[in-house]
Symmetry: C2
Subunit: 248 residues, 2 copies
DNA sequence: CCAAAAGTGTTCAAAGTACACCCATGA
DNA sequence: TCATGGGTGTACTTTGAACACTTTTGG
């Protein structure tokens, strides 16, 4: 940082791309758009867009998330009222990684900062703005169908999500504000693609300090015995962690 | 990615910054440079530099690492011979995170992709190129002495390193190619700032599949009983993981 | 009644913890 | 000889895994 004049140095374009995951119909789903312009016309891609000047990376990711899904994290006010934007405090958004291979965009050198978002089940994406062509697809097995290097980014996002279920209470981000132990177990089973013993799972999550906070409410009207409803607790890491069984 | 003309869109400058950690004199140390230009003239900062056009992020990080430390990962050939560059296959380099708050550089919008490097004990940084002013500092307790947002980046790097010692064989990156169980234990103790029971540590690391590969060699000339020498094994994750005891 | 999901108890195996003890070298 | 670090054995505790069993609802 002394050899080059920064103001003269060839700059790159910076974008954010979102890996938005949710659970729909018993399956892990990712939000994709059908591209309407070259390159990769008509191919599926992760939603995303350019980072504006005077906008932080996180703010850009929040803005794209709002534009694509109507979800508002409720943290930052950008001056404008949030007409029609649903609040969803429990949506989780974190930075995933950055990708900047030359040639990943044939037009110019684009460095993209990928973000991972986990959300409870959402209605079909709202029409309007960029989201008109966005919809949900099964997250696994998309192979190389995605534009740019988005297949790689999606794979990294899935891996991150699977890993963080082990040692953080992140699975709750896929659940509504109040949820049962059974719903939570389903999240683990779907994301990990395994089955878990309901009895041991129950004991484990209710016994891990800070994972769950009882609400005192119970479900009613389902079949089977009514279940306790919980909210997410205040822990950021789980100890001891949940385990994807040693022998996979 | 349809609302803006990418070729016209205001671009940002992209840099890589390195958090290079090693162990020196029983302490965790980070490589810092004394800035010779404004802004933050004469302040300490992480080494780094601009990503060149047609260069991937990882390649830029490797290049900066080579320029600052003389270490060559030996993976990528950039056409030029590596005159004088020491090979160090066991140096570890991974992407850490990206930082792009507006105003983090007062000159223009700079997005930096931080990388984390772990290296065995190195001689004092070699003179030449950018590294003339680079030297090692104790990694903890630098507080807000660093330029830009580098204090935050360093903190994130330390946290990543501490966490990855738990579930990966990364501690071996701080050791020479062949090392003893005692040396490895010292790495854990220094990075975590704890003490570990030598007997149980020995049993644990030698019993974890893929962590260590025996060489058949032993140390000699030290005081105490000669120790077996090991190389890093072939596992990428440790199961079961090493534990920073539940009660810190 | 039965089916289904919630939740508890019990038993066994695996892993972590504490620490006594022996081994092989240098001084 | 002692000091020093390497390495093993063993007893105890904690955690996980398997699964029998009870509870509470809907049909």
């Amino acid at each position: 940082m002394g050899k080059y004049d920064p103001l003269a140095y060839p700059a790159a374009a910076v974008t954010v791309d979102l890996v938005v995951l949710t659970i729909r119909q018993g399956d892990l789903a990712v939000l994709l758009i059908r591209r309407g312009v070259e390159p990769y016309l008509a191919r599926l891609a992760l939603p995303g867009g350019f980072v504006r000047p005077d906008e932080s990376l996180g703010a850009a990711a929040e803005r794209e998330l709002r534009e694509e899904t109507g979800l508002d994290l409720g943290r930052s006010q950008h001056g404008r009222g949030q007409q029609g934007a649903r609040r969803a405090e429990q949506v989780h958004l974190e930075q995933l990684a950055s990708y900047g291979d030359p040639g990943r965009d044939p037009r110019l050198h684009v460095v993209t900062v990928a973000y991972l978002a986990l959300a409870p089940q959402l209605p079909a994406p709202q029409a309007g703005s960029d989201a008109a062509t966005a919809s949900w697809f099964p997250a696994e097995g998309l192979g190389e169908k995605l534009a740019f290097d988005h297949g790689r980014i999606l794979a990294d996002g899935l891996e991150r999500a699977k890993a963080k279920l082990e040692y953080t209470p992140l699975a709750t981000a896929f659940c509504p504000a109040e949820f049962t132990v059974g719903q939570l177990r389903l999240v683990y089973e779907i994301v990990w693609g395994t089955t878990l013993d309901p009895r041991n799972f129950h004991r484990k999550v209710t016994g891990t300090r800070g994972f769950l906070a009882p609400t005192g409410h119970t479900t009613e009207g389902d079949r089977g015995r009514p279940a306790q409803l919980y909210r997410r607790g205040d822990a950021d890491v789980l100890f001891p962690p949940m385990l994807r069984s040693a022998v996979s």
